[in-house]
Symmetry: C2
Subunit: 190 residues, 2 copies
Amino acid sequence: MARNSQDTKLRILKAANRLFYSDGIRAVSVDAIAEKAGITKKTLYYHFKSKDDLVAEYLMSRDQPNLDAMRKWFDDVDGSVADKVYAIFDGVVRSSQHPKWRGCGFLRTAGELANMPGHPAIKAGAVHKKRFESWLADVFLEYKLKNSSSLARQVVLLLDGSFAVMMVKHDSAYIEEAGLAAKQLIEASL
Amino acid sequence: MARNSQDTKLRILKAANRLFYSDGIRAVSVDAIAEKAGITKKTLYYHFKSKDDLVAEYLMSRDQPNLDAMRKWFDDVDGSVADKVYAIFDGVVRSSQHPKWRGCGFLRTAGELANMPGHPAIKAGAVHKKRFESWLADVFLEYKLKNSSSLARQVVLLLDGSFAVMMVKHDSAYIEEAGLAAKQLIEASL
DNA sequence: AAAAGGAAACTCACTGATGAGTATACATAA
DNA sequence: TTATGTATACTCATCAGTGAGTTTCCTTTT
């Protein structure tokens, strides 16, 4: 067994990632994560001071990868800004086909911890959403759209709306509909 | 203590309502609900066959009241359809000021139970969202808007997007922004 | 170069609390 | 007296977190 701190910590985080995203926060025990990571619970507590701490680190570790995925979908499509933003929604549609897809981990975690407003995991979610919104606003500004920051918020609302609706009705047509609405709002701001 | 079945069942449901909505599903124990209702756990299990059953009934009991609130906000405002729909978002803004407000119970429950796709509580959420969407579509049809059903979906997406974003960033400006987007989309369909 | 020491990374086995659900019995209204 | 409704007191599983001790590896001393 690797006696390398970074390696072990990463394995724990990876196990936490899979289990928390798949089953939720309170549904997953620290024992289950330790077992999945192939270490004992005490070792887990050596690397993370509490379950709450682990939850927060789990979400922080998702910030950059999620952002990168969105940007890639945007960048990889040729066309107008509206088309490129629509490509983000299309990327989410494709992701949602995967059997392990469970929507947005940030939103689901924040919803589950709604009675703990100051929880670091919720802050991590706020940071992530903010970074995405800022990136969008910058993009819209580059493309010389009117009301770039309002528009960015509206696109965020539509995207998170897609995630929300998908939790209840597992029908990706809603994501497409949100993409169309986003496209329309962007085109009206040209 | 009232030995009236309906009365007791209602008290249990009321207690479940408050606790589930406030703290989430898995964070609330059956013991806590029984205590809040002023009965013993055994009595609770006499009226509900399991915790899952109670969760489902909790959400089903919220369907009509939530729908009524939305309709009232819509009806109580004079103006164009766009104005009346905006009033719904404005109603949510006002609700969100209340310290006990925790967003949409249907979405939060569905998110928490995302690993149990067939759970009756998620079905109850789907029914509720569907009824709201259908009502909106009917309203838009009455007002002779183009693409009434698409438009209804877009408004639903914006509203649920508001709930989602509010879970993470407690800033009601997002609800207003969603309301403005909804207004704009509706006006474009006149 | 070899031994000693100490810190870092780990395990085993446990605690006290709490979880969902139940066996049995008693009370009340029809 | 019988069905309905309620209570006391339990079961057994699982929870987050910990106490005490062990292994590995690197550094320092001789």
